[in-house]
């Protein structure tokens, strides 16, 4: 196990009616920038609950944050936050709204070109507005970590960053707020949380026993509860389990002291930037190809995954084959297609993705930089 430092200061309020807790977490005199997406929060009642919880506080609204939040959009929010001199950011929405708002919370105080925040993976961020979140889409884990991803539309750059200052002060997770989500978004969320876990778990054996067991626990929960919550969206416990699994998947507890991989995300981000595929869709396509690429190098961990997560009991080789096939079948069972063809893309997408990676100077990906651009090509050829 490697040395590590771990601190996750986000205060989580989980359960029915927890939006009311906002009132205890934001200073009464604060001027609040309320950020949100396309307006679904107004249709499903979340907005009204949030406004009620905010009581008499001054509120400035910034809506219209799109999926894969645009750098260009968020700069408008930065201008608004500066002009209105807000004291607190309250992000109400899914991962995109929260991620965009994290970027905004740092950009407000940054005096240089705000794109530098992205290019430095947020290392230049020294001060942020305090931020709270009301999560309406379980998927990305952003509600309890310091990560954010934004996309520059003009150049099709989708890039991630992280800062200890990006942890929300608090997050409200009420499973009931997610009942009205379309199945596609829930399915994407299950895939996203699953692949987040796999990026941390599918490493060389690193003797992190608790970390491995916790990761397997998240995977097993998603396998059990994902299909249930799709079939029965208002089964509270099932949705609650899926929601908490997605949070735990990327709160940092799975990766302490362990190496990580993140090759699937590296490739997937380019598919979203180039072709507008949902984040979860890109991961469902790429992960099975990545697992096959690692078949020899990470054989022992793939076998552990096969035995413990999928209960594969055959020979070692058959078990690994079975685990990769069942991973793909699981995503398909959720209604998330696992081939590029499923999204109308052909073989010409492959050199385009490789070119994007080259342009972003990502010439190698994955644990130990094991996957070069030829490897990316091999992976994507498996996903046609």
């Amino acid at each position: 196990m490697d040395n590590f430092e771990y601190c996750n200061p986000t205060r989580v309020f989980f359960g029915k009616g927890q939006i009311a807790a906002i009132d205890t977490q934001i200073p009464r005199e604060a001027k609040v920038l309320l950020t949100y997406g396309g307006g679904s929060i107004k249709r499903n009642g979340t907005y009204a609950q949030v406004k009620a919880a905010l009581g008499g506080r001054k509120v400035v609204e910034f809506g219209g944050i799109e999926p894969n939040p645009a750098f260009e959009t968020m700069l408008k929010g930065v201008d608004l936050a500066r002009a209105e001199k807000v004291d607190f950011v309250l992000a109400v929405g899914g991962g995109s709204v929260v991620d965009g708002s994290k970027f905004l919370s740092g950009a407000v105080f940054y005096e240089g070109d705000p794109w530098e925040i992205v290019l430095t993976r947020a290392s230049v961020v020294k001060k942020t507005l305090p931020l709270g979140a009301v999560l309406t889409l379980p998927a990305t884990g952003t509600e309890m970590n310091g990560n954010a991803v934004v996309t520059r539309r003009a150049t099709k750059d989708k890039l991630g960053m992280a800062s200890p200052l990006f942890f929300p002060r608090f997050s409200v997770l009420d499973p009931e707020l997610t009942y009205s989500l379309p199945p596609r978004q829930i399915a994407n969320g299950v895939v996203d949380a699953f692949v987040h876990t796999m990026e941390q778990y599918m490493t060389y054996p690193a003797r992190g026993s608790v970390q491995d067991r916790f990761a397997e626990g998240v995977l097993l929960t998603l396998i059990e509860e994902g299909p249930k919550t799709l079939a029965h969206p208002t089964d509270y416990d099932s949705r609650a389990n899926m929601m908490w699994a997605a949070t735990m998947a990327l709160c940092g507890i799975l990766r302490v002291g362990m190496p990580g991989d993140w090759a699937s995300h590296g490739i997937g981000h380019e598919l979203t930037a180039l072709y507008g595929m949902d984040h979860g869709q890109t991961l469902a396509v790429v992960l099975p190809g990545v697992l096959a690429e690692y078949r020899a190098a990470k054989h022992d961990k793939l076998l552990q995954y096969a035995r413990r997560v999928w209960g594969e009991s055959g020979s070692d080789e058959a078990a690994v084959d079975g685990a990769i096939a069942r991973t793909r079948a699981f995503f398909e069972s959720l209604g998330v297609k696992t081939t590029l063809a499923g999204y109308g893309l052909g073989a010409d997408a492959i050199p385009a993705v490789v070119e994007q990676l080259r342009r972003h100077n990502r010439l190698t990906l994955g644990e130990g930089d094991m996957i070069d651009l030829d490897g990316v090509t091999r992976i994507l050829k498996r996903c046609l």
Copy 2:
């Protein structure tokens, strides 16, 4: 799943040489109260490392904190902290040193009778000295939670308390610092962490899928790594896994949204207060009896435990029997005896424990107050 609020702000520095991180976590101008136990930290080099990390800071020492820290002892530390006007408490030791120091950190500012802190389970604590910990004995989980237990020697009262203000600001967990521990203390630590997990896990089915899986992960880790780290004390990874498992067992992540039990601890504390048994020893005696007591009421969860943790594959009833027997055998395999007789106690201890519970007004214990004092008698009769 029940509603919950969760926040664990402790910053953990885990791994070799992490004592050096102290220098980044305590203000340079702080006057530090350095608390410790019987002096083993001076013999094994930990003290020297800590002093080096503290650099030129002013340090006041308070040693001699005993196992099951005495209220009476800690009051002397409170007097010292007040007289010396210290700004920070650095606890270097095992759970007893850290627990006693947590109590001290609150008692310094408490103007009433300090026993009120214990009697109110710390609800009267409104301000504490900031506290950091260097853990030298993996067991109690106090390094990453807001719990503390102290014992009033004069009246044989061993009582627990909890406060959000008791979370350490930081904790250093270096597995190498624990290499020189006697096997008895490591074995006790494995049992302690195991039973902490069981107190949170062995509930009525509450549909906390991630929580159950995480708890099973901690249990499986302790079952796998406990014997290994006893046999090979300087196998870094094994000790690291055992240490991290003990921290995760009681950092709060296992219990969110779930009921708890804590009957084994309730009974065990009285055995320690009356007869001076090690905390881990009391739990090893009591838990198997408690599980048997719950055989009907918590049958489904016991069966889940049998299948998932112990891999019991027989009939339901045989599996439950097997799991209880294997739990007891596991403790014995670590060298921790599981009968009162093993500690020189006979049947006369039973009414004495019952009388202590009555005196502490603990007329019922466990989830849903299911175990009354007759139940305690039945449990202890199984442990003779």
